[in-house]
């Protein structure tokens, strides 16, 4: 991540470990080794046109048919699906469950199936994602992850890991150091260096004080995972802090470079630090709502971290 390589961390850091833990024999012996070898990528299919934050309202269904199931429905924001071999798909398997989140299962659905299709969705930052369609796709027991109707626990477990994967320290540390070196090495036409200006030092100090929390939060979560004591409120706090910090940090660092921070890497002239800040600041807006919107994370923190009662929904 420090090197800037676009690493498929949702496959390797969230779905992979979940499959290794809860997967069946085929998933463990076939899929997990392929993920480890870099030969298999998996997209995540949760959101639908009518089910976003209220994920348990999802309508995509898997209906029993002989020894398997037939899947029909539509998913939104299935990022990287066009590169992936499977979709980790949340579907309704029991439409009559008394609580709607108890009738949900997770299947690994192959994108090679003729009933699978995707259309591009282009986002503000230029990042492409997908709407994906599931038309009479037949799956068997082999594709079911964990228990039938036991998908909710897998989804929340995957999301906890996803939230932590979003908060990574390395690339931000590299970015901070890069901007500091640029400001030390860059002379102002009026004399002095960029970094000699008090307001530049103030912006850098704010970013530096904030990145320290990012580091400690990320390291603490890694430690808690190793110890098996990962706390739900801590995971949500990490996600809220990190996602909101990134946007503030990109802004503060961009301010230092000024208008030239908006010159992107396709430009023949005027690019500063390889256009990194232009790209990051442009694409950062997804993280406050991706992976579970921050409002829901704050609900989780006040309930699980501070034992405050929650309003009925």
């Amino acid at each position: 991540m420090r090197a800037g390589y676009p690493f498929p961390f949702l496959t390797t850091e969230s779905v992979g470990p979940q499959l290794a833990e809860a997967g069946n024999a085929w998933q463990r012996s076939e899929i997990v080794p392929k993920i480890l070898a870099g030969d298999c990528m998996i997209a995540i299919g949760y959101s639908e046109p009518g089910a976003g934050t209220d994920l348990a309202a999802l309508k995509t269904s898997a209906v029993r048919d002989g020894d398997g199931w037939v899947i029909n429905g539509q998913k939104m924001w299935t990022s990287l699906a066009h590169f992936c071999d499977y979709v980790w798909l949340a579907v309704r398997t029991d439409p009559d469950a008394p609580k709607k989140h108890k009738g949900i299962s997770v299947f690994l659905v192959p994108t090679s199936d003729p009933g699978w299709s995707a259309t591009r969705v282009v986002t503000l930052g230029g990042v492409k994602t997908n709407a994906t369609y599931y038309d009479n796709i037949r799956v068997t027991e082999k594709n079911l992850v964990g228990e039938l109707n036991g998908g909710w626990r897998l989804i929340t477990g995957q999301l906890n890991r996803e939230r932590l994967s979003l908060v990574n320290y390395g690339p931000t540390a590299v970015l901070f150091n890069t901007v500091v070196r640029w400001a030390m090495d860059t002379q102002l036409p009026a004399g002095g260096r960029v970094i000699d200006q008090p307001w530049v030092q103030m912006n850098l100090a704010k970013v530096r004080a904030g990145v320290e929390v990012l580091k400690l939060v990320a390291f603490k979560q890694a430690w808690a995972m190793t110890e098996g004591t990962l706390d739900m409120a801590d995971a949500s706090a990490a996600k809220v802090y990190g996602s909101e910090y990134f946007i503030e940090a990109y802004r503060a660092l961009s301010e230092i470079i000024g208008q030239a921070s908006l010159v992107n890497r396709k430009s023949e002239v005027g690019m500063v630090i390889q256009g990194k800040l232009e790209r990051l600041y442009r694409t950062a807006s997804i993280i406050t709502f991706g992976g579970g919107t921050n409002e829901i994370q704050r609900d989780i923190i006040s309930a699980a971290g501070l034992w405050m009662p929650r309003a009925a929904r």
Partner: protein, 378 residues
């Protein structure tokens, strides 16, 4: 990196928490409001000494437990959680720690056993008017006399100075900075009470030709600035731990209050605007906790921690400010009612915020370090 505390550390924490939560009550704290009497609960100090906590970081030879700065910081965090009216930071951190680290055998033997047993206290004068860098005193000077020093100058906001056996302070001299242990009863010392927001006993200390003998010199001119920097960083980290304890308590008090307070027929905690402001406090407190114990553990291991201490102090200022106002706001009128205990926590939060560098000043210092290439990310 290990984010857990070991068994001994948890025991120190539990012991301190038990004594302080039982002994420090709103009724007892009310005795010191508006300076009705000096905010020093000597009975509690004696109980803490009896439990060994005053000597938690003192060598066993001087009657202490022989633990390190981490255990002391855990104790200070509990002091903050209860805003206990005792001089723990000035005595145990600002004065006793450097005495144990840099003092002569004779000085340690003379002063440290009495600190651990609670018999006497020490304090430190770390602030001058418009100068909050204790390693660079500007308004206190000394000249050599009879193998010791003759001192002149003024210090501000010296906590518990009247009760202290010695006041640790720095003075500018030819060739550097000296660190001295001044007897508040010595000729030429005058103490004038200062009235401050949290009712802590603080004094303006004036020194007029005060003679300090060689026995009471802690650091010579060439070493003094480094000794002051050493003890200032530890005091800053202790202030962060104190802020952490009180902010955590104020936040949890707010969570409980809003869960019980009903309006429109439901607990106010169920309003998302209320829950979210409390969640922001949770993130702030966790940020302060992580930075505080990072700084504490580096200091405990005698590693360079200047950047980490600055960052922790910035968080202590910001977290204290935001949590204290959120706690008051979410309590509504109760938060400011002096019959409800929250208000004292809010005043102490401000004390910690402004002590030894506000967030703005520490950001400026950190910015200078960044510009000098001294604070890159690892």
């Amino acid at each position: 990196m290990d984010f857990g505390f070991n068994e001994e550390q948890r025991e120190v924490q539990q012991l301190a928490r038990k004594i302080l939560s039982e002994q420090v009550t709103p009724e007892k704290l009310a005795r010191y409001d508006e300076y009705l009497q000096d905010a020093f609960d000597r009975e509690l100090w004696g109980q803490l000494a009896g439990a060994g906590l005053l000597g938690v970081a003192t060598r066993e030879a001087w009657g202490g437990m022989g633990f390190g700065f981490t255990e002391l910081a855990l104790f200070i965090e509990e002091i903050g959680r209860n805003i206990a009216p005792v001089p723990a930071i000035p005595c145990l951190v600002s004065a006793a720690l450097p005495l144990q680290r840099f003092g002569s055998q004779a000085q340690q033997q003379r002063l440290l056993p009495g600190v651990a047993s609670g018999e006497h206290i020490l304090t430190a004068a770390l602030m001058e008017e418009n100068n909050e860098d204790p390693a660079q005193p500007r308004l206190t000077t000394a000249v050599v006399q009879d193998g010791g020093w003759r001192v002149n100058g003024v210090k501000w906001c010296v906590p518990h100075a009247r009760d202290a056996g010695r006041i640790l302070l720095s003075a500018r001299v030819e060739g550097g900075v000296v660190v001295l242990l001044v007897d508040p009863a010595a000729a030429g010392v005058s103490l004038e009470p200062m009235r401050v927001t949290n009712f802590e006993p603080q004094y303006r200390l004036e020194l007029s030709d005060v003679l300090v003998s060689a026995d009471d010199v802690l650091a010579a001119p060439e070493a003094g600035a480094a000794v002051m920097q050493w003890l200032t960083e530890r005091t800053m980290a202790a202030v962060c731990a104190h802020q952490l304890g009180l902010a955590d308590r104020a936040m949890r008090m707010t969570a409980s209050y809003t869960a019980e307070r009903n309006q429109f027929g439901v607990p106010v905690a169920t309003f998302q605007a209320v829950g979210h402001r409390a969640a922001n406090c949770f993130i702030d407190v966790e940020s302060l906790r992580l930075n505080t114990y990072q700084a504490v553990s580096r200091l405990d291991s005698e590693l360079d921690a200047t950047t980490e201490v600055l960052i922790a102090k910035i968080w202590a200022g910001d977290c204290g400010h935001r949590v204290s106002y959120a706690a008051q706001h979410l309590h509504g009128g109760m938060g400011i009612d002096r019959d409800y205990p929250l208000w004292r926590f809010c005043l102490w939060a401000r004390h910690n915020e402004m002590t030894l560098g506000s967030s703005a000043r520490e950001l400026a210092v950190l910015g200078e370090r960044i510009a000098a290439g001294e604070a890159f990310c690892a």
